[in-house]
């Protein structure tokens, strides 16, 4: 289990202020909030890619993989991009795995294409495939379906669910889509001004929010 207590300020502005926020292994968490609510900062803090004041417990010895909002496509083939995290000595076996993954994602026809020439949505799908080629304990995805069309989003979600089932990996992801949160997550965490305003089982919170700010957010979303 990961437990994070963290504060991050930019000047006087507090962008993250969470205390003993826990993420259990094997569960799926959707982080929801308006722009600037601290979603990305929280994910980066958990992944250890951003220095924050406080502590992140439970990540020692765990494989925590993080995909930023704007993933970088390396200037090499799509297939090489997907196998980039794999150790060289396992490359032949991993290439076969990567090819299967690309096929599942509907990207096999792009395998030999240079990834830096892809569209935003394609880049995001390749980045997701790159995260799923190796087993992890925690997968942290910042808006994994950003720039994807509906069909690609649904295909990617299916591949992701399949991966989570096979590996038992926990997923923590930021999203602006309540529908995606319902489809993927066990629990949701609502953030506002860097603070957790509500957390609980996805259907319970989305159907029956307790906090006024969560209600207001969901009302705005429904409009």
């Amino acid at each position: 289990m990961i437990e994070i207590t963290a504060q991050k300020k930019y000047g006087e502005r507090v962008v993250l202020d969470v205390e003993k926020l826990r993420f259990v292994e094997g569960e799926v968490y959707a982080i929801i909030g308006t722009n600037g609510s601290g979603k990305s900062t929280l994910l980066e803090a958990i992944a250890g890619t951003l220095k924050v004041k406080g502590s992140v417990r439970g990540v020692e010895g765990k494989d925590v993989a993080y995909m930023p909002q704007k993933s970088y496509a390396f200037s090499m083939s799509v297939l090489s991009n997907v196998t980039a995290p794999c150790p060289l000595f396992r490359l032949p076996a991993e290439r076969a795995k990567a090819k299967r993954l690309l096929k599942q994602m509907g990207l096999h026809h792009l395998a030999r294409k240079n990834a830096s020439r892809l569209s935003g949505g394609e880049t995001q799908r390749v980045a997701l495939a790159r995260m799923l080629v190796a087993p992890h304990d925690y997968l942290i995805l910042d808006e994994p379906s950003a720039s994807m069309d509906v069909e690609s989003t649904l295909i990617s979600e299916e591949v992701l669910k399949d991966y989570l089932e096979r590996t038992g990996c926990a997923l923590i992801f930021a999203t602006h889509s309540m529908a995606q949160a319902r489809r993927l997550s066990d629990k949701v965490v609502f953030l506002d001004g860097g603070k957790v305003i509500e957390m609980g089982y996805t259907d319970e919170v989305l159907d029956n929010p307790k906090d006024d700010r969560t209600k207001a957010f969901l009302d705005n979303f429904a409009r």
């Binding site: 494989d63 995909m67 704007k70 995290p85």
Partner: protein
């Protein structure tokens, strides 16, 4: 044709090419490594290191020549190596002179690339050699340009190599030191002819580099 008929000229061209290629390649290896480490890592005092690197890019060749000469002269700490007035020592001086230039240019050209890649690379938890390989792969066009600059600097250098090499005929005389000598002795025709050959070599290296860049671009498309 002119080179083929004159053994002395052949020797000068051979010495020049040996010194320029060896020193520029060594400077590229050391400089790219330094530039990459500085560009990739955030550490206390990084800005100071960058300022020092950029300052060293302007190292006066004559000063480098004198320092290397003192270090390797008979009474210097490396005097026992007996490298004074040799092509090897000319290469050492050139490496000292060009490495900071390569390092500074590498740091400057790779920093924006590293900044764009960093969140993805960190998130994937890649090993250090793999991170560096990926950064170098992204910056390959810039690195070709850096090498061309290093080679141009190596082949056109006079001051440092004249001091540590001594401009000895059939041993350490290069095209630039020969040009300077011929100018001093009033043989302008030979000086100009050597200058033209020097330019032709630089053009040849640039053409090869251009073809390499085109080949890489074609492969990327």
């Amino acid at each position: 044709m002119v080179i083929g008929q004159d053994p002395m000229l052949q020797n000068i061209v051979k010495t020049t090419l040996e010194m320029a290629f060896t020193s520029s390649i060594l400077a590229l290896l050391f400089g790219v490594l330094i530039g990459l480490v500085v560009a990739y890592n955030n550490f206390p005092g990084k800005k100071v290191v960058v300022v020092i690197l950029r300052t060293l890019m302007g190292l006066p060749p004559v000063v480098v020549g004198i320092v290397v000469f003192i270090l390797f002269s008979g009474t210097g700490p490396f005097g026992h190596l007996k490298l004074i007035y040799s092509v090897e020592l000319m290469i050492v001086a050139q490496v000292v002179l060009i490495t900071p230039i390569v390092a500074g240019m590498t740091e400057t050209s790779l920093t924006p690339i590293v900044d764009r890649m960093r969140p993805t690379v960190k998130g994937l938890g890649l090993s250090v050699p793999k991170k560096f390989f990926l950064v170098l792969n992204e910056g390959k066009y810039q690195l070709i340009a850096v090498y061309l600059f290093a080679f141009a600097r190596a082949i056109s250098e006079v001051g440092a190599i004249q001091i540590v090499g001594g401009n000895i005929l059939n041993k350490t005389r290069t095209m630039t030191t020969a040009i300077a000598l011929n100018y001093n002795t009033g043989d302008f025709a030979l000086a100009v002819a050597l200058g033209i050959i020097l330019l032709a070599i630089a053009l040849g290296v640039n053409l090869v580099a251009g073809l390499l860049q085109m080949g890489l671009k074609k492969r990327n498309d």
